[in-house]
Amino acid sequence: MAELTEAVETTSPPRPPERFTMGWRVVAAKEFSDHLLSIRFTILIVIVGLAAVAAVYTAAGGIREAAEQIGSSDDIPGLFLKLFTVTPEGSRLPAFFAGIALLAPLFGIAFGFDAVNGERAQGTLPRLLSQPIYRDDVINGKFVAGLSVIGLTITTLTMVVAGIGLLRIGVVPNFSDIARLLIWLLVTIVYVGFWLALATLFSVLLRRASTSALAAFATWVVASLFALLLVGIVADIVSPISQEGNAEEVIENARTQRNLSRVFPQALYQEATVALLEPEQRTFDVLGLLILQSPGSGAIPGPLSLEQSLLVVWPQVTGLIALTVLCFAAAYVSFMRQEVRA
């Protein structure tokens, strides 16, 4: 007992305040290692990894055949990216990017649904908050950790898939292909960040981890399955098509549908993915697409440059970032206003 006393300074005045405490870093480091060691991480990586590798394996087979017929593969722009977007005929597996679009929300939800209510259930939240850190360090650190794990996973997965694809099809990607892929990765991480923020919000608002997981999954399912249905109904009300159904009305209705669907992160993400990974995608405007496809338009079909593609997806990407920020802000504010013991 007595040997401890020398080391103690009980009379010292409180140390001067540190302007920059960076408590979130400590929280993030701990959460990050927790995530990597967790069982849910293993499960997810197995599921998503298998799906991705299978998708690319089949796609690569299809592309190689196509490329061999054409002869020289160097002339086909974006051939490398086809690896991620092509679904060969007869294959039941979705393309890599479609698979990621489908499963990415799983990652976000899995690493966020018990962020705050888990700490409450374990009784660790009061202890954590009684350490010299700001309260937002907890939620910021957790969000950063979740996003880092997800970013690391998806980047690794994409690199593995690219590697397998390279070996299978033997196409060397050019600079533009790589840039498109990297930008697509960033957009994907933002998209997963949206689901992470949403799950974190539920973990703040709902007391039980199982309830918040269910709420987040329900949102995902509703937004995926019923979004188109809802959008269709609303569009028919806003811009109805009359009995005669002239072209203008049909186009207007389709435009409204597309605009409304952009409330949902899935639609934004899907459009961004298509424009980034398929250089031929020139516009998402309904009329514009019609004109491009009509034989008399005079438009020469061809791939866009990287800059042009970026211009096409800029609004979608901005919207996606805005949705993510909004969701995280809601989680942040409700966490800051919550009583420690509730």
Partner: protein, 318 residues
């Protein structure tokens, strides 16, 4: 009440209101440095709310607290750096070992690993958890968790230790050890201790002073003995054991002031208006009866506590 240099914790008119409910109602109290103060009251009295306000984790509606001369609402980090807190039903990350849990706390306190590694080991040994330190915290018993909680609070070498209901769910032997540990911490390290409890008889032995806290208000505070003297003193209970019970019984009735004799298995309880020990011993010695045991029984805090509750019209003890 003004803050003196010797005060570790001072509150002035500290109030917390939730929409309808007043959880803490104009609370004034002061805890001196190196003191063990017991905040006693039934569940729902506002003890935890008060503690959270002292830590800056909850904002007072009115009034203020000063902890080591700082306002916890405005300087939460500085306050939390010098205050170790063991919450009610303290929890740990079940998958991390006890030691890893402590290391996380040390890192959050910006203690470098060269400093915290030996420090944690020393405290673990002192608390008696060194053997279990590398087991997952999820396997700990309630009593071990409580001790790990105290270890956790000590990692930052606090000036003040706040323990919320430290003895809940621990067996009597464990409670005794825990309280002894708290007392030793004060004696060896000079930490100021604030502990809250609704189980009075458990904590009264180690508290220098107690405050009785009912429905958000502090209705009495002071040393246990003083509180007893101030409000009780209607009856005195004396324990007695003699060599010859039959003759003693006759003799005792000659002593004025004895109202009642309760015969217990191995001793008698004499209930009287005042202290009758001199008369009793005189009478017994005169008749040649040997006195084996004669002791005035102090009124326990439980009785005081019950009395206060009854006065408050609540009478509810958990």
């Amino acid at each position: 009440m003004t803050a003196t240099a010797e005060a570790a914790i001072v509150t002035e008119g500290l109030t917390k209101r939730y929409e309808e409910l007043v959880a803490v109602d104009h609370l004034d109290f002061q805890i001196s440095k190196g003191e063990i103060f017991g905040l006693l009251g039934p569940n729902g009295a506002g003890k935890t709310t008060t503690i959270l306000m002292l830590l800056g984790l909850s904002e007072p509606t009115e009034g203020q607290a000063r902890v080591v001369d700082l306002d916890p609402t405005r300087h939460p980090l500085e306050v939390k750096r010098v205050v170790g807190y063991v919450p009610d039903n303290v929890g740990f990350y079940p998958d991390l070992t006890g030691r890893q849990n402590l290391e996380y706390t040390a890192k959050l306190n910006r203690i470098s690993s060269e400093v915290f590694e030996p420090r944690i080991q020393t405290i673990l040994e002192q608390i008696g958890l060194a053997d279990a330190a590398d087991r997952p915290a999820g396997t700990y018993s309630r009593g071990m968790r409580q001790r790990l909680g105290i270890t956790d609070a000590l990692v930052k070498e606090p000036q003040i230790l706040i323990l919320d209901e430290p003895t809940i769910g621990i067996d009597p032997e464990g409670t005794r050890e825990l309280l002894e540990l708290i007392r030793n911490l004060r004696d060896d390290r000079g930490v100021t201790v604030l502990l809250s409890s609704h189980l009075l008889h458990q904590v009264q032995s180690i508290c220098d002073r107690v405050g009785i806290f009912v429905r958000g208000r502090m209705i009495a505070q002071g040393p246990v003995r003083e509180l007893a003297a101030r409000h009780v003193a209607e009856e005195v209970v004396t324990e007695l054991a003699v060599t010859n019970w039959e003759r003693a019984g006759e003799a005792l009735w000659t002593v004025p002031g004895i109202k009642r004799i309760d015969r217990q298995a191995d001793h008698w309880l004499l209930v009287s208006e005042k202290d009758v020990r001199p008369e009793v011993s005189k009478v017994l010695v005169e008749r040649g009866i040997g006195i084996l045991h004669l002791r005035r029984r102090d009124e326990g805090l439980d009785e005081i506590y019950t009395r206060y509750f009854e006065e408050e019209g609540s009478g509810r003890i958990n």
